[in-house]
Symmetry: C3
Subunit: 470 residues, 3 copies
Amino acid sequence: MSEFKLHEDRFFDTDPTVRRYARELYNEIKDLPIVSPHGHVDPAIFVENKPFPNPAELFISPDHYVYRMLYSQGIDLEDLDIPQRGGVRSGKDPREVWQIFADNYFLFNGTPSGVWLNHEFNIVFGIKEKLSGENAQNIYDEISEKLQQPEFLPRNMFKNFNLEVLSTTDAAADTLEHHKIIKESGWDGRIVPCFRPDAVTDLSNPDWRKNIEELQKVSSVEITTYQNFIKVLEERRAFFKSMGATSTDHGVLSPYTTKLSEKDAEDIFSRALRGESTEKDAVLFTANMLMEMARMSCDDGLTMQIHAGSNRNHNKVIFDKYGLDKGCDIPQSTEYTNNLKELLNTYGNNKNFTVIVFTLDETNYTRELAPLAGHYPAMKLGPAWWFHDSLEGMNRYRHSVTETAGFYNTVGFNDDTRAFVSIPARHDVARRVDANFLAGLVARHMISMAEASVIIKDLTYNLVKKAYNL
Amino acid sequence: MSEFKLHEDRFFDTDPTVRRYARELYNEIKDLPIVSPHGHVDPAIFVENKPFPNPAELFISPDHYVYRMLYSQGIDLEDLDIPQRGGVRSGKDPREVWQIFADNYFLFNGTPSGVWLNHEFNIVFGIKEKLSGENAQNIYDEISEKLQQPEFLPRNMFKNFNLEVLSTTDAAADTLEHHKIIKESGWDGRIVPCFRPDAVTDLSNPDWRKNIEELQKVSSVEITTYQNFIKVLEERRAFFKSMGATSTDHGVLSPYTTKLSEKDAEDIFSRALRGESTEKDAVLFTANMLMEMARMSCDDGLTMQIHAGSNRNHNKVIFDKYGLDKGCDIPQSTEYTNNLKELLNTYGNNKNFTVIVFTLDETNYTRELAPLAGHYPAMKLGPAWWFHDSLEGMNRYRHSVTETAGFYNTVGFNDDTRAFVSIPARHDVARRVDANFLAGLVARHMISMAEASVIIKDLTYNLVKKAYNL
Amino acid sequence: MSEFKLHEDRFFDTDPTVRRYARELYNEIKDLPIVSPHGHVDPAIFVENKPFPNPAELFISPDHYVYRMLYSQGIDLEDLDIPQRGGVRSGKDPREVWQIFADNYFLFNGTPSGVWLNHEFNIVFGIKEKLSGENAQNIYDEISEKLQQPEFLPRNMFKNFNLEVLSTTDAAADTLEHHKIIKESGWDGRIVPCFRPDAVTDLSNPDWRKNIEELQKVSSVEITTYQNFIKVLEERRAFFKSMGATSTDHGVLSPYTTKLSEKDAEDIFSRALRGESTEKDAVLFTANMLMEMARMSCDDGLTMQIHAGSNRNHNKVIFDKYGLDKGCDIPQSTEYTNNLKELLNTYGNNKNFTVIVFTLDETNYTRELAPLAGHYPAMKLGPAWWFHDSLEGMNRYRHSVTETAGFYNTVGFNDDTRAFVSIPARHDVARRVDANFLAGLVARHMISMAEASVIIKDLTYNLVKKAYNL
């Protein structure tokens, strides 16, 4: 078998002119620090700073991109030892899990998971063969051994990845204990929280009442009224900000926004406390809370993020056994022009406010999102998200939004990942896609290399720092 | 006029690297047998095995792709001798029909019909000039003459096309007489039926009552209740399976699925028998029947196909005079995430079940269909369908679905055609598109040629045989 | 700084084969006259034929593409001296406005505005440096000086642009005074009106009552009934036709069409006259008026245009201060298959009728619009519109619609602009995109250069003249 080595021009257009420009632009930014303003890495790993247990638990069980694909081809999640509700595990030998993964590694050909994993294996872990059923156990050994070396401890990887800042995503009731310990530890890795109050703003969440009680525990006032609830949220935002947060995040099925009257809001909130709120209540309340969050952002300067359009936990069989975030979230058609109208009319002309909007429905790029971001000063367009955080997805994104929104109403890249080791791979792909896109503009004589050279740095580094106040 | 000869590298990217890989991959699979798991060729032509009557009746009157384009430019269907309701024909001289077609052949430039027709003329019939008004009558003569030769008889074309198996599409009440005769004839061409019960499951069909009577004629029990109706369908499926069927097909406007209670189903069915069912009844009944069909597929192993989103017979003027399938079907926006939820929750985790979903609404590729197919073990994504069975359409399909669904949650190509002679042309285009797509991945260093070489064979031959149990 | 000179191969694919064909095809049509069948240039400029006042008022204040982008980046419209309601201006020095624009000119990199402006500066005004903050005042001087030269007077530019005909867009009540003066002036520039009755057919327009009064002033019968209203519109269409109009235009949120009974129409109209019409009335009335307009077009032969899907004046803050057409129009999802069904069933098979449909929702290209245009003789597909009148937008358009609608169910290019000086730039871009698209087909051996050479002339010149009877 010939040595497995990622090509230095990978993902660039084959055309020699485009490729030459792309390489040149990529080389200008490939070593810039990584700014990761939105993601789901568990901060505990930097508190403990212990070796990752084994290759299976590093690459497979925490990555729903990986096991959803295996599951789609008839492999049971039990056979992959995916954590079930309550932390139950099947106890499958990680070597056997790894073997199944390796036997089916061909399934990831042409997918972003394949692209990232190849990068992680080859570049982060220095593996010199492409993973296959034959070499599975050898590569398992090789990675296992490396995981015990100091340079593969989380804090060292953080530094080796050239991470300038990493944002986590945290519930409103979170005490941010891990963030505090990291800060006080003397280690200088910058890890900031992000305020995500969905668990207490979404009345349709079956655990809402419990979540409110969790929130109560960390609050100074009693959450008996809507007014107090709002006060508590303001207080939590102030706390998050004091802990380094610069942004909030809101995951909603629909980005509908509307301000309820104080009375209507109180009525709905009180029904919810009594366990009597309706589906319609939940829709209105979420829409109202987006308005409240925008108002608070105008005051406290936290950048607001709206992630819309994911139909969560579509597969009830899996959800019942495995719980949230197991790859059963399916996008659905999403509307922004009418849904965001009230929010943008109320706060969108405010220069001190930034709202970054994400979509899983690419039809909105040219139709709704680029036109909105290309007009309202407050609104920026988030990068290609989730299923679209991929070579094709990011390429479509740039081709679709640039003409109407320009480059400067976008905000750079988000990795949005739980898989810490995939961070450099993901940013590298984004940088390559952007370099290649700009190279295409230069090759077609739309912009000059000098202009492209400025833009690529902005897309890689400056825009994200500005949009997230980092 | 220079000789008309299809270029051997047609449809491949111009870039020399991509083209070289594409040609190499294409050459590996161009001679693989054709598996045609879904289509509408009339099996009678293989029973009779008579020469096709003339070029106009071979290429024009059975092909709504062809005459819809001519009609859109103001040519009357009477002037093309398109069959009207009840078999009425205008009686236009086929030579005159052919002349009109040839005079307007430039309309097909850049269209899949043009691509297929050029292939059929040049490769199947060995025509050495591109069709035009000037050479129309000469080419008419040339084709007419060939049609009388033995090698252009249907059974010989079947063999010359290297067809391994051809599926027809047949109503639930069909006796499959032609299939039986073919089987018993000793001829070894494999032609299998496909069970399509739309005519008796769609209560909004104006002929529903008549269709039930047809079904009654071939059934052992009386169709007086929903329960008996279900029994009859099970019986018909068993009969189809005994005749070689490996799949069922369901054409629906919306892929909404929901299981009715036995009582509700009986009530609706009984209203329908009395001619009193409502529009809402029809919607619910279709949704219920998709659930029933999935259940039966879990039992009998027939692969289920769902074709959704065609607003049939949009042009009432044409429909009233010419009937079904005359090019007046227009796609409309279709939703899958919520509509398929009940079916996928109930049967989608079943490894013995395969449901292949098709769409006319390409916005669903990345948003809904690839994420669904990339998660549920039972669901596979059908190839680019109908208006999208084209160079651009298939190219968009691969670029859109591969990253999230991978290659292995797709099922190869379907020609879905009534035009028997177009089958090799259609499969050739699909093979070229796939070879070219894979060549692009290789050229951009995402996969190796060795990997591409495995994938192209799977896309061309293995996946379709597996998905349809052929 | 190196000299700024637009590359002669700009916007063509980098691939040498495609580029060579593209250049060849482009050269065949680049000097063909410009036919501009739909736009918003003020005809008054050709009456007065005075120099444009200064660069800021030529390039910035009339161009909402330009100031919407600047506004999105936090620049106040007051600082750009954008005209407010009632003609109020901030009075900002045009040199300062120009400086802001130049300082932010980088925002237009990769956008159609940037492409057009570069063309206007470099080719129309002969500016030899790319605009920047540094050279802003020099370029201001250079343009200002040229604006005083005879060749930059509107009528001379019209001739130098090689404009064969320019259509304006005019309200139903317009007396077409400017058109009359131009006609009688002896100047032979052909400027034709287009009948756009939205102001009197849209009951939800807050000025509807006032607009009816305006219409009354130019009408022979009293508009007290729906019947009379219809008579007045027929009369106005005849007047427009007598003044050279060959088309009508209809801007609607939804392209819903339905014919009301005479009684329902009278009832709604009478409620509207009393100021009592409802939202639902407005929806039905607009749908009904599209039917009436189609009926009239069948009679008087005026080509009908339907522009659907713009959610107008989305930003109330800007609308209240600045009024209509200030860049706050945002597209929304639009449905055609069901909405146009009644119109197309009633008039779509009529060979004497042409209805050209435009969309801001690109998802309809392959799903609804190409299939409809590829079937109904009366329906043609308008070019990529507004946000999609761009390199990417026009490219997506051709790639999406050609296979199903062919080239001959499209109608050439529309510039649809208020910015007179941008006309040659916009047509040049369209010609380059089409040449490049056809070059791609030739390079991939789908059509021959001889065929492409015919098609490019049709796309540039013949189709538009035919579709608009010009």
